[in-house]
């Protein structure tokens, strides 16, 4: 049992420390600092459009008692949840196909195809969706061919979900696929050997094993959609005021960075809650 010697323990601790330290250090300096500043900022004042350090709760009271804040808050949660669920369901058959129904070569090709859009500007892709959805746009012309009446889909919840799926699909498929690809094939074979049909195998073996990937993917989708302002602005026409739009608006009202900070902190709290519960749910062992 020589690895219990002090030297071994010490070198183990050092080894562990080398790995555990870098990220927290970086984040403390370059992330915790700014966030603490942000929290402090939420107590500051804005006098004659100039930011002045202070300690007062005025901003918190103002925002938390504002009707429009809560409307935006729940609207954002609703949209982000809907989008996360929809994109997870949309991606699931694809990740299944990637993991089980394609050859190695096809798998890499398909994954690459799915992921490439992630590397092209999201802004440009959302901007490009407009021509499909607008009056006299592409969909309108197509439907017009079959004389189906068409009212512009721009500035509708449908457009928002469309944009959110565009935003989150690549990352969701990657996360789901990584998880599903790593499922132990012997487990599946065993299930078949025990007489299960494919549907049963899916429910009993594949789904539970892929749960972390599915849930984490949905979590990422929720987070991205929650904080995004591009889709609500350019496909939603600013009609559905989400929290991200609200922050921009709040800043426009006379440099109200403290109030924007309040909204931001509320967003952080919410996302933290959602993230922690999702991760716990994802990795919970039965």
């Amino acid at each position: 049992m020589n690895f219990l010697t002090r030297k071994a323990l010490y070198s183990r601790a050092l080894y562990g420390g080398i790995w555990a330290a870098p990220l927290p250090i970086w984040l403390t300096v370059f992330f915790l600092g700014p966030i603490i500043l942000l929290v402090l900022l939420s107590f500051w004042n804005v006098k004659s459009f100039v930011l002045t350090p202070d300690f007062q709760f005025g901003n918190w009271v103002k925002i938390l008692s504002a009707n429009y804040f809560w409307i935006s808050y729940f609207r954002t949660i609703a949209f982000a949840s809907a989008a996360a669920i929809i994109v997870t369901l949309v991606a699931l058959p694809c990740s299944l196909a990637i993991s089980f129904f394609f050859s190695d070569k096809g798998r890499i090709t398909l994954l690459s195809l799915f992921v490439i859009p992630f590397f092209t500007s999201y802004l440009v892709r959302i901007y490009s969706w407009q021509i499909y959805l607008t009056e006299n746009g592409i969909i309108s012309q197509l439907l017009g061919f079959f004389t189906i009446p068409f009212d512009s889909l721009l500035n509708t919840p449908f457009a928002l979900i469309l944009g959110f799926v565009t935003l989150t699909f690549p990352i969701v498929i990657v996360i789901q696929s990584i998880s599903m690809l790593s499922i132990d094939k012997t487990l599946i074979d065993a299930a078949y050997n025990l007489g299960c049909n494919s549907r049963r195998v899916f429910h009993v073996v594949v789904l539970p094993a892929a749960k972390p990937g599915i849930v984490i993917g949905a979590l990422f989708a929720f987070i991205f959609c929650f904080g995004d302002f591009v889709t609500p602005t350019y496909l939603g026409g600013g009609k559905y005021t989400t929290l991200s739009i609200l922050i921009a608006d709040t800043v426009k009202s006379g440099q109200q960075w403290p109030r924007a900070a309040v909204i931001a902190i509320m967003m952080i709290f919410t996302l933290l809650l959602v993230a922690l519960s999702s991760i716990a749910f994802a990795y919970r062992k039965k």
Partner: protein
């Protein structure tokens, strides 16, 4: 999974549909980048290269693109390394305060970009760093590292933790075990994380706008075009980035294929 041929076909057809959906805006982007009309409307106007000329002649865009590449190539490796380190530490060790560290490490993506931007700007300007390319790099690492950590952590889940112990039992030092066991099994995940970090940095517009000052990235340039000078120049830039990305991914794919072949 064993399924009927028809089911298999249905799934594959579904994937094709999804691919079409994902590429639909990219295709129209190409088409309209050659359209003479300033605003995208149907029917199409005449064919023209003018938007590409305008885009290529834009000095600011050259600078922005250079910045984007530089920032991506510096921040992605660092972010991947930080993410890997944290994922490995989480997977391998148990220590006091580990849960807190994990929560901490997952915090950055939870903060809305607009506010990260402002907070970083205020903070970095007190450090005398605001309006620099370094500021953007630093911010991007903060944003991307958690993703790298999450992706690599997922991979670690699947690795048999006994392998490393086995290597050590056979006499390997910590580092040797690491080199022989951990690196090979996580290579692909690390590469995927790297690409992810690069993509995050490449497309990031909100924070870059704030902390970059007069130094713009391609995404910042696109955003400012969207907000003010809406024109097919946006499409032209989008088309070029798309071609560049496809080339990158395809070459990466070829590299990967070669590697698996040689094993």
């Amino acid at each position: 999974m064993r399924v009927s041929k028809n089911t298999r076909l249905m799934f594959k057809a579904y994937c094709v549909c999804i691919v079409l959906f994902l590429y639909a805006p990219i295709i129209t982007n190409f088409v309209f980048s050659f359209n003479s009309d300033r605003f995208p409307t149907l029917p199409l106007g005449s064919f023209t290269w003018q938007w590409y000329h305008l885009a290529f002649a834009d000095e600011l865009l050259h600078e922005a693109f250079g910045n984007t590449l530089l920032i991506g190539l510096i921040s992605a490796p660092i972010a991947t390394f930080l993410g890997f380190a944290a994922a490995y530490a989480d997977y391998r060790f148990n220590f006091l305060g580990k849960k807190i560290l994990l929560v901490f490490a997952l915090l950055p993506p939870l903060v809305p970009l607009v506010v990260v931007g402002l907070a970083m700007l205020a903070y970095l300007s007190r450090l005398g760093m605001s309006g620099t390319v370094e500021a953007i790099i630093v911010s991007h690492i903060v944003l991307a590292a958690p993703f790298a950590m999450a992706v690599i952590r997922l991979r670690f889940e699947q690795i048999d933790s006994n392998l490393e112990y086995a290597a050590q039992n056979l006499g390997a030092s910590n580092w040797r075990a690491f080199y022989e066991v951990v690196i090979p099994s996580t290579k692909t995940a690390v590469f995927a994380a790297f690409l992810l970090c690069f993509a995050v940095s490449f497309d990031e517009y909100a924070v870059s706008w704030f902390v970059g000052g007069l130094h713009e990235t391609t995404s910042v340039r696109i955003l400012s075009f969207l907000q003010s000078a809406v024109s097919p120049r946006i499409n032209a830039i989008g088309s070029v980035t798309f071609i560049v990305s496809i080339t990158l991914i395809l070459s990466a794919q070829i590299l990967l294929m070669k590697r698996t072949k040689s094993i």
